[in-house]
């Protein structure tokens, strides 16, 4: 009788150990995030330009007006100058637009344009769309930002 009790205890102990190992493996597995593409550099929709988009001061702060830099190069890598840029966007999952109207305010040289007036008022998935018109033609690009 005593020995059966021992086996049961041993079994329970081993089961607990197994649960622990499985949990540890599960927690350390790389998370497969099914979120949107959040790359900060990409080709525009029709491949006319290569666009980069970064916060001007490096960090994103929720609830504050910020400026970002949109860098435009041709497919061959030459900076795109004199581009006309319009900005739109919103939160795809909330079905609403941007809380501000960001604009391209300055050309900083080397294909870099300051996009000022960006404000992310809540956490979640934001999308910014740039319609770009330059000597090479017109194209657009979407950037996703997840806060």
């Amino acid at each position: 009788m005593a020995s059966i009790w021992r086996y049961i205890l041993a079994g329970l102990g081993l089961a607990a150990l197994l649960v622990g190992i499985v949990a540890a493996v599960y927690l350390t597995l790389p998370q497969s995030a099914p979120g949107p593409d959040t790359s900060r550099a990409k080709k525009t929709a029709n491949g006319l330009f290569v666009a980069g988009f970064e916060p001007e001061r490096g960090v994103i702060r929720q609830g504050e007006l910020q400026s970002w830099l949109l860098t435009l190069k041709t497919a061959a890598g030459a900076p795109v100058e004199g581009a006309a840029i319009t900005v739109s966007g919103g939160m795809p999952q909330h079905d609403h637009g941007l809380p501000t109207s960001p604009q391209a305010t300055d050309y900083l040289g080397d294909g870099r344009y300051r996009i000022d007036g960006i404000k992310f008022t809540m956490s979640g998935w934001w999308q910014l769309r740039f319609a770009i018109s330059a000597a090479a033609g017109s194209d657009s690009v979407d950037f996703n930002i997840v806060l």
């Binding site: 007006l65 637009g97 809380p99 956490s123």
Partner: protein, 402 residues
């Protein structure tokens, strides 16, 4: 064998201790992060207002405080800022719509943290605290005065105090007793007849009245609540003490607030507001004039001579980015109203921009049901909260008042 068994039983005991002793953690790491972002200790110090060079001048705040409580700052000497912004009532009046000289169409907003608002009024029709303070002074339903009369009044009652702060008063000897571009027909005519330089002089005195009142209002800040004590303990891992401990109902309410009920989507940050405008399907009030919220405020703030881009601003134009980059049109600003702070909300019924809901239970029921908007599109979607969940949300909101 005996050895294996004892190791195994130790493991079982350890597993049981983990499950039973510590219990299920109350909040996930993500929830803890959100809770910390709502606590008052996450509130940054108040930024300088470069558009008002007197914002942090004590003498200006002192004069502003005098003016705030002075019923002489109205047409008939009966209404002051403090008539509706009552000092012992969180600077609001508990009425569905404010009553000054007449009956207005909007709920008085409380003032805690008001200097942090990029937009003032429910619809954001003013873009600075000092420009806001001028608006009720001339609204025929609020203080019902006119700027020429205010300039004369300041000179007569507070001339010396004014001049010590703002410099010499202009010569007002030929300024009509009553004149304003926004007043009665007679006042408008009197204003039009004034030379441009004299209009500027009066406008300058008027702007300074707003700047003094704003300097006073900057001192009105939110106070620590039970929620903040709870949040600090949660962040530091200390066991909540005394009233900092939450009941299971309050914990559930907090979890809903930052989770399933999506309240924190707009009511975020330590002031529980995103400082933005949303249509949440709040119904209009029968008998009040048509009210379309933010969409009609855009033209008003653009036309305001005291806005950030106008000539009465101190400092440079870099302070005007909110105005410069505001959304000017589009369906999302139709019947959109500012997200109010929820700090102290449980003690100041009724709710919404025209006092539509008498209790927080009604507010929770509205968001749970999410009716369609009468105009524009409501951003909220039905939550179908149970009675218990709605009560828990209300219980949590009360922790922002205690």
């Amino acid at each position: 064998m005996r050895r294996l068994a004892s190791v195994a039983s130790l493991l079982v005991l350890a597993a049981l201790a983990l499950l039973g002793g510590c219990g299920e953690p109350q909040f996930s790491d993500a929830e803890k992060k959100t809770i910390a972002s709502l606590a008052l200790n996450a509130l940054p110090s108040l930024k300088a207002d470069t558009t008002n060079q007197y914002a942090d001048v004590p003498a200006a705040a002192a004069l502003g405080s005098t003016l705030f409580f002075d019923a002489g700052m109205s047409r008939d000497g009966t209404v002051s800022c403090s008539t509706c912004h009552k000092i012992d009532r969180q600077f609001q009046d508990d009425l569905p719509q404010a009553v000054g000289v007449g009956h207005t169409n909007r709920r008085t907003m409380p003032l805690a943290g008001v200097a942090r608002n990029p937009w003032l009024f429910w619809d954001g029709r003013r873009d600075s605290l000092w420009a806001q303070a001028l608006t009720p002074l001339e609204n025929p339903l609020e203080q019902a005065g006119n700027r020429a009369a205010f300039a004369h009044y300041i000179k007569k009652r507070f001339g010396e105090r004014y001049e010590r702060i703002f410099g010499p008063l202009p010569d007002l000897s030929t300024v009509p007793a009553n004149a304003s571009p926004l007043g009665s027909e007679a006042e408008k005519a009197a204003w039009s007849a004034m030379p441009a330089g004299q209009q500027d002089d009066v406008n300058r005195v008027y702007a300074n009245i707003g700047k003094a009142i704003a300097a006073f209002e900057r001192s009105i800040e939110p106070q620590q609540t039970r929620f903040d004590r709870f949040a600090i303990d949660l962040a530091t891992g200390a066991k909540p003490q005394g009233d900092g401990a939450f009941s299971p109902e309050e914990v559930l309410g907090l979890k809903l607030f930052i989770g399933k009920a999506n309240c924190v989507t707009c009511h975020n940050g330590p002031r529980f507001t995103d400082n933005s405008f949303h249509n949440t399907g709040v119904p209009p009030v029968d008998g009040l004039p048509l009210d379309r919220g933010r969409v009609d405020a855009v033209a008003q703030v653009q036309a305001d001579p005291f806005n950030c881009l106008g000539k009465f601003r101190d400092g440079d134009e870099s302070a005007c980015r909110e105005l410069r980059f505001m959304v000017k049109d589009g369906p999302q600003i139709v019947r959109a109203y500012k997200t109010p702070s929820l700090r102290g909300a449980a003690d100041r019924a009724p709710y919404m921009h025209a006092g539509q809901f008498a209790t927080l239970d009604e507010v929770a029921a509205h968001y749970s049901k999410a009716p369609l908007a009468v105009e524009g599109v409501s951003e909220v979607h039905p939550l179908d909260l149970s009675d218990r969940e709605r009560a828990a949300l209300v219980a949590f909101l009360k922790t922002l008042s205690d």
